[in-house]
Symmetry: C2
DNA sequence: CTCATTGCAAATGGTTTGCATTGGG
DNA sequence: CCCAATGCAAACCATTTGCAATGAG
């Protein structure tokens, strides 16, 4: 059910939006494509000092609009970005290490179909996140307290 | 499926947490109990000038911990509070007027049960919001463009 | 009385903006 | 060339915090 990674193409996504291929954007795209894990805007700002903070925020927003990146959030609401590997999915966020996995499950689609029929008004979107302590973090705890 | 309102008791919730019943807290609780709709912390700060901003933020946090208030968010992530009327539920947020309804649906519980079996790691929480254009807003649009 | 709580005002921190400069097409 | 895009620094703004004064138990 957890979805395997596929190759993203962030530059193509920007091109689709009719955006110019500037040097900072290419740098950002290349950098993000190497990132298997979720990250915050500030992470990028720290790890990619050759691109200005404003450009990072502006480009992340573009990439989310383009559907190449998705924006989740920790339980406290602080935003988390992740390169988008699957068409339609939701997120499993480890509250301990911040790792984000994508998942898809028939029960989820079933649920939304059922709700669509019964909720008054027009459904325009949704947000679904599952918070976990991932197996790695769980193991680490076991070891620490042993 | 949309849940009907019942009477909340915010003061009791604070008492359960072993908190003192101070004047500002009583004022806040009374005020919130009259609010049928969702609100932001800043809304309260504006509409209840007799209570300091810091106390408002501190008390809202307490009430969320106590389970008397729940914290949702708009699609852009800006937080929204709402008096909690049902035991376990999720939210339908109108992106046009900000109205928040509570709902509960067997398909939702089924979905989480199914996921619990298949997700690696221990599930510690979740977030589910459905964004809609509510019937009122839809009507208003129809009238405007007619 | 004592210590939790308050309220102010200042600090914080992530995000956005104004504007002169740069560089892609 | 021209205008979109950049980068810096300042502005923003919701939220948090330090601390002296207050008041609940």
């Amino acid at each position: 059910m957890v979805i395997d990674h596929a190759k993203p193409d962030l530059l193509a996504a920007l091109e689709d939006l009719g955006q110019r291929m500037t040097r900072p954007r290419v740098r950002l795209a290349r950098y993000l494509e190497t990132k298997p894990e979720a990250f915050s805007a500030e992470d990028v700002n720290t790890e990619l000092p050759s691109v200005g903070r404003a450009t990072i925020y502006r480009t992340l927003k573009l990439l989310v609009e383009a559907g190449a990146l998705c924006k989740t959030a920790m339980p406290d609401g602080s935003p988390l970005y992740k390169v988008d590997y699957a068409v339609h999915h939701h997120h499993i966020v480890c509250t301990s290490c911040g790792k984000v996995d994508e998942f898809r499950h028939p029960a989820v689609e079933r649920m939304f179909r059922a709700m669509r029929k019964e909720i008054p008004g027009e459904i325009v979107g949704h947000r679904l996140e599952v918070f976990v302590i991932c197996v790695n973090c769980k193991d680490a705890r076991g070891r620490a307290s042993a």
